[in-house]
Symmetry: D2
Subunit: 144 residues, 4 copies
Amino acid sequence: MLMKNTTVKRQIVWGDLDSLGIVFYPHYYKWIDASGHVFFKSLNLTLGSLWKERRIIFGLLETGCRYHLPGRYNEWIEIVTYIDDISDKVVLLRHDISRLSDRALMVKGFEKRICLDVSDPLKFKAIDIPHDIRTILSKAQSHK
Amino acid sequence: MLMKNTTVKRQIVWGDLDSLGIVFYPHYYKWIDASGHVFFKSLNLTLGSLWKERRIIFGLLETGCRYHLPGRYNEWIEIVTYIDDISDKVVLLRHDISRLSDRALMVKGFEKRICLDVSDPLKFKAIDIPHDIRTILSKAQSHK
Amino acid sequence: MLMKNTTVKRQIVWGDLDSLGIVFYPHYYKWIDASGHVFFKSLNLTLGSLWKERRIIFGLLETGCRYHLPGRYNEWIEIVTYIDDISDKVVLLRHDISRLSDRALMVKGFEKRICLDVSDPLKFKAIDIPHDIRTILSKAQSHK
Amino acid sequence: MLMKNTTVKRQIVWGDLDSLGIVFYPHYYKWIDASGHVFFKSLNLTLGSLWKERRIIFGLLETGCRYHLPGRYNEWIEIVTYIDDISDKVVLLRHDISRLSDRALMVKGFEKRICLDVSDPLKFKAIDIPHDIRTILSKAQSHK
């Protein structure tokens, strides 16, 4: 992979499973969200400080997952996160989840995040990604 | 709406919120999943008994959500669930989540569920939707 | 019961279950927390407005549950919440969870909540429960 | 500590927080449950295989937590798990959660788990802890 990416490893635990003994799918979204935070942090863009210092968040526009293989108890998985696309207001993160033991693909997820001004906590407003942040994101996308 | 649909109402609670005071998005998927179960049950297709009696489940192929409006503390929401498409193996459920107070659309979600034979709990196999179930689903889709 | 109490009803859904087909226990705490909010609201003490208007929250000191009967798919349960004890800084909430069909007791839970001044979001400070709130809570405890 | 113990490290993520920016408490129970599994596994008592091979589980009788310090975004925590007491049917696990940066105690949790025969999935029955398992647990408790 040429673009910048981050990898998060985790183990599937009892509480992640449903009655069939496979991962209950909303958990994948929790893990994806956490991996997105790790990715932004790797670019020195902590979502917490963007919010506190600049009143900006990258809010959710759309999320999705395709399920290839069910996750099971005690399996180690890894989530690889990278930027697939950037436009004026929106950044598209991909999250590929695979089983560590054999690298089999389990889930392909994405998050479309839009740049929001949250100065007014009750009315978020879409804005262009500020220039300095856009530069960082573009570099991460085309990282070589 | 001409097709059969079910409606689930629920109130957003403290534990659904993130640090910004808005719903943490994986919760929408939990609610969508629960609403899918209610929908199947309304067709006398309890997912639990399909599994126990016929070794069939409608497993997840793909899920997704588009976010239009953030959910906030104490708001009542409703989730309307219906079938949008059926093919040999796959049924597409839509879940429209709106705010009860003003009917504003909050989230549009979907689940693509594929018919699986789970006789072997460690190896699920995609199969055609059995004829009797397909008839029930088709009727629900074109319900007038 | 002589004291004021509130009742919340809910149905156990697929996503609440573990691999054994019974409720994964951290969910009981989510439901208990939500029922506590309903109880405070019934006293016109919305936790949200206490926080926003008076910079007070009733933070957690201790929680616990005893499990009498496992919860299963599709069962309707009810959670009855009431005050069992009040001291200068602390209020003890009880939450009795039972199965609706036969009133069998499933879980007995409690939350010990302490009155906190959260003016400084990074350093919470225990304080005496303000007089007006204490009056409301005492009345709820001895309600006839 | 003289007794056998296991340590699990994890980082607090965005999705663990509530509106106050502190960990929503039911998450501690999820982490505690997962740490209990790690502990049992360290004794070669995988809860999954006990269930599948011997139809035994260590079900929950009681759980509880005392909260000393709120967990916040991005903090690394560690959960140390050990056996505090064993009786004929019951084992008491303690879980001490502390902040990695300064070892400050955040939460003291426990799980009282009772040995259950789950041959009949709809009617669990308390039994004495089988001799071989009891030996393993006793050794872990008094480990030097």
